[in-house]
Subunit: 200 residues, 2 copies
């Protein structure tokens, strides 16, 4: 191609805009036509990249999970802080940048979990796999936190990770309902329950 | 009316079946036609009771919140147990009967929170009000638990209630994804973190 936008640019733009639209409007309320108009991309180009709306969502999940996993491991800042403090800071930044910088894959998963038709087995399994991958990352973090003694150790790292994931997902639903990030902030504040309890 | 089913029967049947279908399939995937077929009710009868699909959902929320609030306050059993143990038992029963006895309003709220179009302000406000009402019920329970000393008191009752609500909502999303109640069971198990911490 010697002129126009390169194909990779188009594809990336569609993936990013798709994530944003699905998160803002929900999966079913987002029409393909609207996505194409927002991106200035003809229908034929879309179908060069993706087989269907479901295939498009799968591509978004694959693309953004990698990005999110990288973010999760960015804990090099705050060299003096405990691992729990670093993760806590990462969660705070996620809330601060909610809806601005990028819309997160966690929101997409929350929406899709609720909206998904019963028949979409391939899509369900892909979401389930991403859920498991994210929980695995959090589990490893909880393991480190317990080893350094910054959080209570009377619950397994995996149980803690599942607990955090559920709470975060539920808080995201409340954010959508309340139209502000207060539920996420409240959730994060109360998550300090995980730290060593007073008197222990 | 001297013959056929009384109107109140029809209306109740529509509300119950509607709750079940919305919870199983999601709001957008449930067609009015399917509901009418399941209930053997003609379209005209539906519109005698409800103005629209949104109006129908509002009626379901109003109807079942009352029912759920009554359930929440049924803690007369286990006379020797602490208030926290009674509530915990109630939550366990909710999980045991998930998807069988009735589908709960909490699932409907989780699904609607994710699916709701941005424009449906009346519906959003109704869901928000029900969310606030349920959290208020849990807040009062947490207050009693803290007074009797069965749960930790370094977090406010309202913050605890919001935390429990978010976790439960997120676990419901995971249940939909996993197609079993393990995420709810895991969440409930870890919720024992609320009890007095070891060493305190």
């Amino acid at each position: 191609m010697s002129s126009g936008r390169p194909a990779t640019h188009c594809k990336k733009h569609l993936l990013l805009k798709g994530l944003q639209l699905f998160n803002q409007q929900g999966y079913h309320n987002t029409r393909l036509q609207q996505l194409l108009q927002c991106c200035g991309v003809p229908k034929g180009t879309f179908y060069n990249f993706f087989s269907s709306k479901d295939g498009f969502v799968l591509a978004i999940i694959e693309n953004y999970f990698q990005l999110e996993a990288e973010r999760l491991s960015i804990t090099a800042e705050l060299p003096q802080a405990s691992h729990f403090q670093k993760i806590y800071k990462y969660w705070e930044i996620q809330i601060e940048t909610y809806g601005t910088e990028t819309d997160r894959i966690a929101t997409l998963i929350a929406n899709l979990s609720a909206e998904m038709p019963l028949g979409s087995t391939k899509l369900r399994l892909a979401i389930l796999k991403t859920r498991a991958d994210i929980i695995q990352v959090i589990t490893e973090d909880m393991q480190i936190c317990q080893q350094e003694g910054s959080i209570r150790s009377d619950v397994t790292p995996r149980a803690l990770a599942e607990f955090i994931w559920c709470g975060w997902q539920g808080a995201l639903l409340s954010v959508r309902l309340c139209k502000n990030t207060a539920p996420l902030q409240e959730f994060l504040k109360t998550l300090r329950l995980l730290e060593q309890a007073p008197g222990s």
